[in-house]
């Protein structure tokens, strides 16, 4: 990756105040998204992946707040922008789509009206221009009857159609970065693949960068160029998708990959990851993953590993990253 990344997150820290103390959901996160790249941010519940997305666009609400770090978008630090300027970034430069589209669309507004409004907010455009653009977008996201969807209310659309409509909304002002938070989790399998492929196509057609947040490793395998794996608020492994899947270098990644019941192979017993995700208010000392790790030893219990480069472009947060491949057998 020689060109400068579109998005560079450095040292992002987002903390939440709870009655029991401060939960440091993110505490020094680094992440890059290059131009025209699809980066998968993978993690289970409590990993902090959604919070990362919200922090980037500064939509974190109390009791949470971004306390430190830089979010460099095309060189500008978004965290230091006044809110007025940030509003111009949201929707125009960076857009987001969410898990349940019908929950995020105004139930009493027709899709077409929302599209028009977004377009006209960020661009100076007449109603006719806005409508033309709206229909063009709805067609571009693969909706077979754009006119009908234009006039429809969200509840009249099926899950898949609503998600396509939401993607159209997100693309209305030609953003450079699309953040997709679990966009296919609520969808049926046959629709999921349609949406995933649509995102890949849009990336190619529009030179769009996508930050795809999901817990589904197979979706990541399907379209992502690079993958960042998160656990308990930290990135534990980051690299090219092929690398991560073929030679993972962190025990958690190995565990996740093997815990999937897959069609291709049938094992007698699924390799599960013992234990469960730690409480953010009572994190283990040393490496956050050590209580569940098959490689853990005394060093892991006391010393938290940093993110180490193993190969150009492949980092892992594990003292024994080199041994992961042999011991994983």
């Amino acid at each position: 990756m020689t060109a400068e990344p579109l998005l560079q997150v450095r040292g992002l820290a987002t903390w939440f105040e709870t009655p029991r103390g401060i939960a440091k959901v993110l505490d020094g996160l680094d992440l890059d998204v290059g131009r025209g790249e699809i980066v998968g941010l993978v993690g289970e519940s409590g990993s902090g992946k959604s919070v990362t997305a919200y922090s980037v666009v500064r939509l974190v609400r109390p009791p949470g707040s971004v306390v430190a770090g830089r979010v460099l978008f095309e060189g500008r630090d978004l965290l230091s922008l006044p809110e007025g300027q940030m509003r111009h970034v949201r929707g125009k430069e960076i857009s987001m789509i969410f898990q349940d589209p019908r929950g995020y669309l105004d139930p009493v507004a027709r899709v077409g009206n929302v599209l028009n409004e977004i377009y006209r907010t960020h661009e100076q455009a007449s109603r006719k221009e806005a409508k033309a653009r709206a229909l063009e977008l709805l067609r571009a996201v693969g909706l077979p009857a754009p006119e009908r969807v234009y006039r429809a209310y969200p509840h009249e659309l099926s899950g898949g159609m609503a998600q396509r409509a939401m993607i159209a909304l997100a693309l209305a002002c030609s953003p450079k970065l699309l953040i997709a938070d679990e966009p296919t989790t609520a969808l049926d399998v046959t629709i999921q693949i349609q949406i995933v492929r649509l995102l890949a196509e849009l990336r190619t057609q529009l030179d769009l960068s996508i930050l795809l947040i999901t817990h589904n490793l197979s979706v990541v395998a399907e379209v992502c160029d690079r993958v960042a794996v998160m656990y308990a608020g930290e990135v534990v492994e980051n690299g090219a998708a092929r690398e991560i899947f073929e030679s993972p270098r962190h025990p958690y990644t190995v565990g996740l990959l093997r815990a999937r019941p897959r069609i291709g192979t049938v094992e007698e017993k699924l390799a599960d990851i013992p234990g469960r995700v730690p409480d953010l208010l009572e994190l283990p000392a040393g490496c956050r993953f050590h209580p569940r790790c098959f490689l853990a030893d005394d060093r892991c219990r006391h010393e938290a590993p940093g993110l180490r480069p193993l190969m150009p472009d492949h980092v892992s947060r594990c003292h024994y990253a080199e041994r992961v491949q042999e011991d994983a057998a």
């Binding site: 629709i191 073929e246 996740l256």
Partner: protein, 332 residues
């Protein structure tokens, strides 16, 4: 036939609805028939609108079937009063999808587990409490967990409690409605392994309702694929994955994302949306999305044997319009 623990005959469930001001009938389950043998694990697979969950609820009469017959271990389930079902309910149990919603937030784990034991008069007092401890250990928890409340447990632990509750009355048949969909991947694996172990230890029969083909491949002996309220294909698991006949089954299998980037392939992405059968046309309901659709698909079509133990509901298959499935479309 005599070893069938569950027999479902022509099960139908219709809902009267209003759509856009017009009255219509939603055929959620439209003539489903199948049998489950003792000790088998059968998977009922489908997407939204397929009717798989409704089928399960009708089998237990948690929803009242409109028509059709269900027999459990030879005894009639349908066609009798709801009150007389109580002894049967001891022997057929269900685990629901969302473990958080399935547990009464005001009752401790111990209370929740003791309830079925005491109400079916299986044990009382100290004996009941001991049994609760046994059940907890059976599902991989500890007896001390009985004092906990649902909100003090993780998602995986809650689902274990739900499984323990289902096993509390020593059922022979357990229905599982998407038992792992609401859980994280690593926890899913734990629960699936647990279900496998339990079946070996206790001699249970499972009816799994799911949309996750990986889970099906891993656990099921036989698969029933449902679309728009009907079974469109039925086969032993390995057969279904190696030789899917019905165009919908093929589309379904083809839609599963790859396991790893190196397996990325060009695929014919199925078009259209899953069908919700509101006043459906008499013919094949998949025709609108099927690459091999033709005029003959407008006629009603029945489930018929294509090979030994392999049934399919497709006119095009039997008239040779639909070709043999290509091997490389499915990972082997």
């Amino acid at each position: 036939m005599s070893d069938a623990i569950l027999q479902v005959d022509d099960l139908v469930k219709e809902y009267r609805v209003r759509v856009g001001g017009r009255r219509a009938v939603l055929h959620a389950v439209d003539g489903v028939s199948f049998e489950i043998a003792r000790g088998e694990t059968v998977a009922l697979v489908g997407e939204s609108g397929s009717g798989k969950s409704t089928t399960a609820l009708c089998i237990l009469r948690l929803e009242e079937p409109t028509r059709g017959r269900v027999r459990f271990d030879g005894e009639e389930v349908t066609g009798r009063s709801a009150a007389s079902l109580r002894p049967l309910r001891r022997r057929v149990q269900i685990v629901f999808q969302d473990p958080t919603e399935s547990l009464n937030p005001r009752r401790s784990v111990g209370d929740t587990l003791r309830e079925p034991i005491e109400w079916h008069h299986l044990a009382e007092g100290a004996a009941a409490r001991a049994r609760v401890g046994e059940l907890l250990e059976l599902v991989g928890l500890q007896p001390g967990h009985a004092r906990r409340y649902p909100h003090q447990l993780s998602g995986g632990q809650r689902q274990r409690v739900c499984i323990a509750r289902a096993l509390a009355t020593n059922p022979s048949l357990v229905l599982l409605d998407e038992p792992t969909s609401a859980l994280d991947v690593s926890v899913q694996a734990q629960i699936l392994n647990l279900l496998n172990e339990l079946q070996r230890e206790i001699d249970l029969t499972y009816l799994f309702i799911t949309h996750d083909l990986g889970v099906v491949r891993h656990l099921a002996d036989r698969v029933l694929v449902m679309y728009a309220g009907q079974i469109v294909e039925a086969a032993p698991t390995a057969t279904l994955f190696e030789r899917p006949l019905h165009p919908y089954t093929r589309a379904l299998l083809d839609s599963v994302p790859v396991d790893s980037p190196s397996e990325r392939r060009l695929r014919a992405v199925p078009k259209g949306e899953p069908y919700s059968p509101l006043d459906p046309a008499p013919g094949c309901r998949f025709a609108g999305r099927c690459p091999w659709a033709a005029e003959e698909c407008e006629a009603p079509v029945e489930l018929a044997p294509a090979a030994d133990g392999h049934l399919v509901r497709c006119t095009g298959w039997f008239s040779r319009r639909v070709p043999e499935p290509r091997r490389e479309a499915i990972a082997s």
